[in-house]
């Protein structure tokens, strides 16, 4: 079933979950993310963002460009805590 299609692999969010959240009134990518956890996993939406945009495009008449209110915070790629602790300017030698 297409409803069982996995949209966000990291957080195991199905198409059906996304559609349900849109039907509940989620009108932006951030709202969907906060409700379903789609895009919150290790890849931080790198895989599912395009799929999410397509689902929104298909199920709503919302302008996807406007509805993309996600911000991308540092770090841009996963980094170990040890490496992060050494990355700032004034870290100890």
């Amino acid at each position: 079933m297409i409803q069982n299609m996995l949209i966000c692999r990291c957080e195991e969010v199905l198409l059906a979950d996304i559609v349900a959240s849109i039907e509940n009134g989620a009108g932006t990518l951030k709202a969907i993310k906060m409700e379903t956890r789609a895009g919150m996993g290790i890849c931080q939406g790198r895989t599912c963002r395009m799929l999410l945009e397509q689902v929104m495009d298909f199920h709503t008449d919302i302008n996807v460009q406007e509805a993309n209110n996600l911000s991308y915070n540092n770090p841009v790629r996963p980094i170990s805590l040890a490496n992060l602790s050494r990355s700032g300017k004034d870290s100890e030698p």
Partner: protein
């Protein structure tokens, strides 16, 4: 024009909790500029800490809120991941030991179950900790909750009760006539109402300005590192004694330490939340990389076993700071129909349940919570108590 008995400004944990208590016998509208729970209430830890509160009124308030949590999940009919896992404050070095011994004594006297444990006992409970720590305090009364789910649960419950929620709608002005609130102007139209509740958290001063009131609330920035999912390795929340010191010092944090103090927890989905710091930087969300590495450095010193865990993102929030660490839950002195419910600093998740009840009591003018409300008035900040004539 639309009308409402009450307009609540702000859809964070505080605004939604208030809406939940007011919805019973009124037409309530909740206006949120962005998404529900996406500002401070979606960029915070999940601790309901009791052991860290100051003796006297702050403990009393925290305990009253903690009591509401006991049945909240059932009441709201949704899983909010409320867990009574206890909490620990790590004492990193001997120099904090005396201060923390004193702290435990004082908290016990105030009726909080908290005890000092030695390094061995601390490590038995939290194996992730370093063998270099001096000890810890532990309280079985500390609990945790998922703040995202909590705000969503309140929002869902209020929708069932008939509250109208407007997302993506910014309040731009409040209309006053003869010293009374008569309407709220939003970017999408005007709502006639005689009662406005300012629950805009760190943004509450901007709302209060609309009616000519200065609020002594300042945004105190905090950052949390979020890790990939890992197997369960942290039980309950962990703070460090430095955090207690930083939290209870209200002056500007010094620049080299960035106000860093550990807060560590693990969500039910397995992500670690590694914090944090306290800085006054206005509403600037761009955190310098040095701050992130300072937080990481501090965390790995106390919990070296986290070294190879990968951080996948960070979140930044503004604690609504007041200089006595307590929220303002109060009518405005010179404007009729304007209630302030903001300024919960780093305790808004813990205090959200009681805040809804307090505001409902204030609106209903019953005397159930008079003792509490008397302590939370705006005019306790003397500078703001100047009479206009």
């Amino acid at each position: 024009m639309e009308t409402a008995d009450v307009v609540i400004i702000g859809g964070g944990v505080i605004g939604t909790s208030i809406a939940y208590r007011l919805a019973a016998n009124r037409k309530v509208m909740l206006i949120e500029k962005g998404e529900i729970g996406a500002q401070t209430s979606g960029a915070c830890d999940k601790a309901i800490f009791l052991q860290s509160k100051k003796p006297g009124f702050p403990i009393k308030l925290a305990k009253a809120s903690r009591m509401v949590y006991e049945n909240l999940e059932e009441e709201l009919g949704m899983n909010i991941e409320f867990q009574k896992n206890g909490g620990m404050i790590v004492i990193e070095n001997e120099s904090h030991l005396d201060f923390m011994k004193q702290f435990v004594k004082q908290q016990n006297k105030a009726g909080i179950h908290v005890k000092l444990v030695n390094q061995k006992e601390a490590l038995a409970f939290q194996p992730c900790l370093s063998t270099t720590i001096a000890g810890a305090t532990y309280s079985p009364e500390d609990a945790e909750v998922n703040p995202l789910l909590l705000t969503q649960a309140f929002a869902k419950a209020v929708k069932r009760k008939g509250v109208i929620i407007r997302r993506h709608t910014e309040v731009t002005d409040i209309v006053i006539e003869n010293g009374k609130v008569v309407a709220v102007q939003t970017a999408k139209g005007k709502i006639a109402t005689e009662l406005v509740i300012n629950a805009a958290g760190p943004f509450a001063p901007k709302i209060a300005e609309m009616v000519g009131i200065g609020l002594p609330i300042m945004p105190r920035r905090g950052v949390i590192l979020i890790s990939e999912k890992v197997k369960p390795m942290i039980h309950g929340n962990i703070l460090c004694s430095q955090y207690i010191a930083t939290k209870h010092l209200s002056h500007q944090t010094d620049d080299t330490s960035y106000g860093v103090g550990l807060s560590l927890g693990q969500t039910e989905s397995g992500n670690l939340l590694i914090g944090g710091n306290r800085e006054f930087k206005g509403y600037d969300k761009s955190v310098e990389p040095e701050v992130l590495s300072a937080i990481a450095r501090h965390a790995r010193r106390i919990a070296p076993s986290l070294d190879f865990i990968r951080i996948i993102r960070t979140m930044v929030g503004f604690r609504p700071f007041t200089n006595d660490g307590l929220p303002i839950i109060s009518e405005a002195p010179h404007v009729k129909g304007f209630i302030i419910a903001a300024g919960h600093e780093g305790d808004g998740i813990a205090l959200a349940p009681i805040t809804g009840l307090l505001v409902a009591s204030l609106v209903d003018r019953d005397l159930r919570y008079k003792e509490f409300l008397d302590q939370l008035k705006l005019d306790r900040f003397r500078a703001y108590n100047v009479s206009p004539n």
